[in-house]
Amino acid sequence: MDGTLVIDALKLVGYGLSTIGPGLGIGIACYGCCVATARQPELQGRLFTNFIIGAALAEALGLIGFVLTFIV
């Protein structure tokens, strides 16, 4: 089999694996936001802002994986 083809395929597999972590992280952040909003609906604005910030920080790991597929 062609060596470069295998490396290209492995890059895609590696990127797929690297999205598991951020996916779990954003899921947990969303869960926490939903539960907290159900308990104290009056804090919804602040909670949503914090959720967006947390999700963006977790998403950063997925984005690093995305960039690495181009670089390596």
């Binding site: 604005g45 602040r46 802002t49 910030i53 963006a56 950063a60 984005l63 690093i64 995305f66 960039v67």
Partner: protein, 260 residues
């Protein structure tokens, strides 16, 4: 012929249509379509804000001006006040400019036939670099160069841990410019790619139906519905990405200028 087979031939053309191409000029002096649309978006932003600011009155009467004012209030309350806290007022013009420009660029890209400037990595790099330089400038101005460098490591750590944590925090600070740029670019580019693929599928299945395959005609209706659903999602993403970019810039400014 199965329409899905001809999709593989069409997708490279779709990908090629997202590449930067010169509208006029070439090489050392020229303008690509993304730069052209960026200038158009600058002009739209300028026109919207100037037109709204002329119609500002104490008692809101003009619907257009109230709409823009509502956007500004959104930046002020949700981003400035909650993310930066004390002394947020001096950063509001910067944040509002970022928010309105990115919002208008994202929405202009949703009009068929227009290109979104934020779908090009060069322009999101530039926006992220502006934000990066801005918060470092204000951090150094608030704490001094030495104080700002020292503030990467949180106080109250054991002495042996300080260099390690300081280095990790420095690394994550430098990565902010990359994540800001790639997040906006990735969301816009991938969204437009998905919309393009659904549009291609629709046209192929309709073409197949005209050549005499009624089942493909029925499937093409499903693709159109998918296309509408994705388009609705993209409208949400266009707003959300402008919001995320601006609030993250606000959080970074808040972190750089706060005292602890």
């Amino acid at each position: 012929m199965n329409p899905l087979e001809s999709l593989a031939e069409q997708v490279p053309h779709l990908q090629h249509s997202f590449d930067s191409a010169f509208v006029f000029g070439s090489g050392s002096f020229g303008m690509t379509q993304y730069v052209l649309w960026m200038i158009i978006c600058f002009l739209i932003t300028l026109a919207v804000v100037l037109a709204a600011s002329k119609r500002l009155t104490l008692i809101p009467t003009n619907k257009f001006a109230s709409m823009v004012e509502y956007g500004y209030e959104f930046v002020k309350k949700d981003m400035g006040e909650s993310a930066i806290g004390h002394g947020y007022k001096r950063h509001l013009p910067f944040l509002a400019t970022l928010f309105f420009f990115i919002l208008i660029s994202n929405f202009v890209g949703l009009i068929p036939g227009c290109k979104t400037p934020t779908g090009s990595i060069s322009i999101t790099w530039a926006l992220a670099a502006i934000s990066f330089v801005y918060f470092i400038y204000w951090g150094i101005r608030a704490k001094g160069l030495g104080g700002y460098l020292k503030s990467f490591a949180p106080s109250g750590l054991p002495v042996v841990m300080v260099p390690l944590v300081w280095f990790l925090e420095l690394f994550s600070t430098v990565l902010r410019v990359l994540t800001l740029a790639v997040r906006l670019y990735g969301n816009m580019f991938a969204g437009h790619m998905v919309l393009g693929i659904f549009a291609l599928l629709t046209s192929m299945f309709i073409g197949s139906a005209i050549q005499g395959a009624p089942v493909d005609g029925a499937i093409s209706i499903a693709w159109v519905l998918f296309l509408f659903a994705m388009y609705a999602l993209e409208v949400l993403v266009a707003f959300l990405q402008a919001y995320v970019f601006t609030i993250l810039s606000a959080v970074y400014i808040g972190l750089a200028t706060s005292d602890h």
